[in-house]
Amino acid sequence: MPDRRHSTRPLISSTLALRVLASAITLTSFGGMTIFASENLHAAKAPLQPAAVATATPAPTAAPTRVTTGRTTTRRSVTSTNTAPLTRTKQS
């Protein structure tokens, strides 16, 4: 009975093609992840949150401040309120 190992040819015999395939898989994951990460910068449910940053509660101040919560950075320059406006305009 002939040995089957000697009768079956591998799919890819070129080592260059194998290297290209390995590079393609790696670079596809790199490129795909770069695009995905660029479009999804802030993960609200990220498992790791550096304690010093996550628990930061800045004191109220009149000067413009940068507040970092998780991966989200917001610029705060004026105080806001939830109360209804006293006057109404066409734009409001």
């Binding site: 591998p10 990460a37 498992p47």
Partner: protein, 179 residues
């Protein structure tokens, strides 16, 4: 996009994922050299060449991942954390596993470069550390990865682990696929 924060954060995530993929391919081809798992794909010489070639891919990606996190002020990871694992103030286990993985990979790499001055048995034992390094890297990715809520990223992570586990099981049970 701010260069100092968001770009570094994107680089850290993409290089981390891609280096895990390349490391997976490296481990798979390494195990396949003994088991003949990829005999349907290529001959053993080709698999060996790719196994060596993959270091060209995952070393720079892994280095870029580490360097990006060092420059990321949000991550708060210092040079000392590359030497002493589990010293970060948050996510100690998750980040510490990444440090352990990096250190083990370094040992495997150095032992490979010094192979001529080691006995075959010594080199094999050093090389087997790559199994632990891979699973430490995988656990690091799963525990600290911010993108696993996305099904595609999660699938990618679990496929890498499943593939290595399957091929490693084949190696342990000494099953050989006829080529």
């Amino acid at each position: 996009m701010s260069l100092n924060t968001d770009l570094i954060w994107v680089i850290a995530r993409s290089t981390g994922t891609a280096s895990l993929v390349a490391l997976t391919l490296s481990v798979l081809t390494g195990i396949a050299l003994r088991t003949g798992t990829f005999a349907w794909l290529s001959h053993n010489r080709g698999v060996r060449i790719v196994h060596g070639f993959l270091t060209v891919l995952w070393i720079p990606l892994g280095l870029a991942h580490v360097i990006a996190l060092l420059f990321d002020r949000y991550a708060q990871i210092g040079l000392i954390d590359l030497v002493i694992p589990f010293g970060v103030s948050y996510g100690r286990l998750a980040i510490g596993l990444g440090t352990i993985s990096m250190q083990l990979i370094l040992v495997v790499l150095v032992s490979t470069w010094l192979r001529s001055s080691l006995s075959n048995g010594q080199w094999q034992w050093f090389h087997r550390l790559s199994y632990i390094a891979f699973f430490a890297a995988f656990a690091h990715g799963v525990m600290s990865g911010t993108d696993l809520a996305n099904p595609v990223v999660a699938a990618l992570a679990w496929i890498t682990a499943a593939a290595v586990a399957l091929v490693a099981l084949r190696r342990v049970t000494r099953l050989r696929i006829p080529a």
